[in-house]
Each structure stands twice: as C-alpha cells, then as structure tokens.
Symmetry: C2
Subunit: 268 residues, 2 copies
C-alpha cells in the first residue's frame, strides 16, 4: 500500500468516549486530518460478546479503509481487547495502534510500575487484555483489575464529582486498598473525566494515573515521523456516526471545545 | 389470519428488562407457551433514534411472526414509545399490546390519578409517549416526567437498595417534591427492582406505584379470553437473544426463579 502524507488518520470508538483520543491526537498533531467514527447506534460494546464486537469492528475498519486513511487508531478498549489482531489483519500494511497497547507502553515508560492497577468495563476486565499485554512485556509486573460498570453512565449523566460519583468510585477503588499500586490505568476512554477526583479517593498520592489517550497520540506521532507520513497542511476533523448525528455533534463540539463540521450518518 | 389456542405469546424487549413482563405473564397465564426475544446485541435502545429503534423493532416483529405467535407483547418502553404503530401495521390482524398502553390503563383504573408522575429512560421521557397516551384518555390529568438514566445500570450492577442507589433516586425523585403526585408510573421494565425503596424516598405514603408488567399481563389475559384463544395445554418458556445466550440464560433463570431451556442465539 502506497501511503501519502495528505491522507487522514482514522479513529474509531463504540460511541463518544473515543473523542478523548481524538482530542489528544488533534493536540499532538494539529496539521493532520482526522476521520472519526462513533458507532452510536450500537453503543455500548462493553457487554457484548467477542464475536459481535469483532464483527462490528471489522465493518468500521472497512469503512475507514474506503475513506483512504493512512493509519487506524482503535480508541475503544473493548475493541482493542477483543479484535485488535483481526483489525491488523484486515488493514494489511496500514499501521494500526490501539489504546491497550498504548496504555501498556505508558506503564512501561513510567519508572514506578511494579504494582499496576487497571479499571475498565466488564468486557475489558474479563478479557484480561491489559494483564496479558503488560505481563508479556514484563512478567514481573503485578496487575490487579477492577470492573467499574457504573462509571460510563455516570460520566454520560455528567455526574463526575458529586457524592454519587465519589461513592461509586470509593466502592470500586476499595478493591486496591491493600494492593499498594504505584500506577492506575484508566482502561476506558470515559474514565479521564474522573481524573480529578480519583487521587483523593485512592488516598495514595504517589499513584501515577495513566490516561492512554495521551499515550496513543504520542505513539501515533512517532509512528508517522518514522514512516515519513507527517502532514503539514491538514487539520480537518470529520465525524461519522451510525445514529443521532445531531446529538453527537453537540457533544463533540463541547468535548473538543471548537466548532466542527456536522457529523454524517453512515449505515454499515 | 386464523389464530389457534396452541400458538405461543411473543414477548420482546431490548434486553433482559422485559423478563419482568414475561414473569407477570407466566404467572397470570401459566398454561400459555411464551416466546421471548431479547436484543442483547443492540441493548440499550434508550439512547437511540426513533428510526433505528423502529428498524430493530420491525425486524424482531418479523421474527416473532415467523415463529407463529398468536399475540405480541411489546415489553420495551422505548419501542412502545417509538414504534408501536408500525408494529401494529406489520402484525396485521394479530393483537399487539405494549407497556405504555398498559401503564396508561393502570393509571386510569386507579381511583386517584389527577397528578401522575412518570419515570423512564431519556428516550421514553423525550418521546412524551406517556403524556400523550394518558392525556388522550383524560386531558384533565396532569403528567410530570423525569428521566433517570442511571437506574438501568444501577439495576444491572445489582445496586438496588444501597446508599448509591438511594442517593441517585433522591436526586431524580426530588423532581416530584412539590408536585403532590398521587401515582408514579415505573416507565422502564428495570425499575420494578427499586419498588421497595421508592416509597420511602418519595416520602409520600399515599402515592400509588404503577408497574406496567402486571398491567400488560392482565390485558393479555382479557384479550385472549375475548378472542377465545386461551391455551390450557402449554406452559413452555423459550428465549431467543441476539448475543451472549449463556449470560442471558443465567440471568433469566435467576429472574424467573425456575430452570429454563437454553436461550438460542438469532442473528436478525
């Protein structure tokens, strides 16, 4: 495949959560065109089976390939956990990066990473993808996981720092009370919204909070530099969704803090 | 269409919530065969558009018609709000009942129903389907609604009477504090799980709680009697889902409190 600098970066997620990744990428690479796909008709993926999630992920990969992207960023932890290999296979020589690999790299890059905590959706935690991904690089790292199913709906309700959010976080993070974790991976793209309150609830100042959106943006930049595919003339951000483009558009503008082109609806 | 007593009753929902309806129907009509479809691959419907929900609902209706049911019960409030008329059209002369019509009937049947409260998902509340349905029968009834997006995930987490659930309910039900409601409709099939704690949080002993599962089961019984279609030889309960049959099966058995045949997976 003969890739060109002017081609866009493709980013996808089950819904709006992946906009945290899109935002980090737009900040790290302001002159790249970005095509974002949010599967708002079928969100959330967190409770669905591996087969179903893989099927959806391959449909979206096909869509991004048709759009002529030069790189695919998998911004959904559930997809990264279940379907990464099949996406890479389908994408051929096109580079594919995913949030779990990026989160793993951030763990390894941090000097303190002997006891790592991971929070995510039920699907991400049950898949044990972070455990495998981290221990493959360093089997000496201890990884403790906790599924936090209520955090996505809390984030979407806008309850990110009220008593209810804090109590839910207390219940979930109690799991790490006697684990002395030195890093905590936010294994779901919605969770950065709780980044301000998590440290006080963890009650361990020294715990380093890992947000894989920043990490995947950095990896994308390095990869494009290495392949000599950095664009200097782009900067457009275009969104496609499978349902409710207007609602997505409003959320996306608020999320990215700037006016955007209308999101287009696509039936896969 | 020439319907026969031996044919099953078809019930469907976006996921597992509609099992509250299936349970009420099995109790009211123990000698009927029931075919239940839960769209576990595409759950939840609450945040999806009218077009998408209608498309899914018509696919499921087609599946139940192929299965040869004698009646369809729409156990999903979002589908009832968005797609009832199109399901009736597709079902032809086959009787179709839905939870919103059933909830409305329960409101009208109760002696105190001048000030009615309705809680539901965002989609159900935004559709104003309960308001229209109730005021069409009696324009003098005042209807106040409140969307409670966190209650479904709380119910699925099993947090139905802890501090977090009570605080979330307090925030939502505060909406009715100065409304002096005499009935409260649980406009989502998950909400009956909170039936025990709602009265103390509402702090109005005289408020009557309306659970439309009981109401639709009663309506189904009367309709079948009227059409001379009551079965006296059935009692089988068969489930079909669009994803994760094993997980559904476990939940369904716990839910209905008896052993069931394996749920079968169907790709629509």
């Amino acid at each position: 495949m003969n890739l060109k600098k002017q081609q866009a970066i493709g980013i996808f997620d089950s819904g709006i959560g992946g906009l945290t990744v899109a935002k980090a990428v737009a900040e790290a690479l302001p002159n790249e065109d970005i095509i974002y796909f949010g599967d708002t008709a079928r969100v959330p993926y967190g409770g669905k089976s591996k087969e179903t999630v893989s099927e959806y992920a391959l449909e979206i990969t096909g869509f991004l390939l048709e759009k002529g992207v030069k790189m695919i960023l998998v911004a959904c932890n559930t997809v990264s956990a279940y379907a990464k290999d099949r996406i890479i296979e389908k994408a051929g020589t096109l580079p594919v990066l995913d949030v779990i690999s990026a989160g793993t790299q951030a763990v390894l890059d941090h000097p303190k990473h002997k006891n790592v905590g991971v929070i995510g959706t039920l699907a991400t935690v049950n898949s044990e993808a972070y455990v495998r991904s981290i221990q493959q690089e360093d089997p000496g790292i201890s990884v403790t996981q906790k599924a936090c199913p209520l955090l996505v709906p809390l984030a979407e309700e806008g309850w990110i720092d009220n008593d209810i959010a804090k109590q839910a976080l207390s219940v979930y993070l109690k799991h790490f009370a006697d684990k002395e974790i030195d890093s905590l991976v936010l294994g779901c793209t919605h969770y950065p919204l709780f980044k301000q309150v998590i440290p006080s609830i963890l009650n361990r100042e020294e715990t380093y909070i890992i947000d894989s959106a920043d990490s995947i943006a950095q990896m994308a930049k390095e990869k494009l530099e290495k392949l000599d595919l950095l664009n200097s003339e782009g900067g457009e951000f275009q969104c496609f969704v499978s349902d409710r483009p207007q609602r997505f558009h409003e959320l996306a503008q608020r999320f990215l803090g700037k006016p955007l082109k209308q999101a287009e609806i696509i039936h896969l």
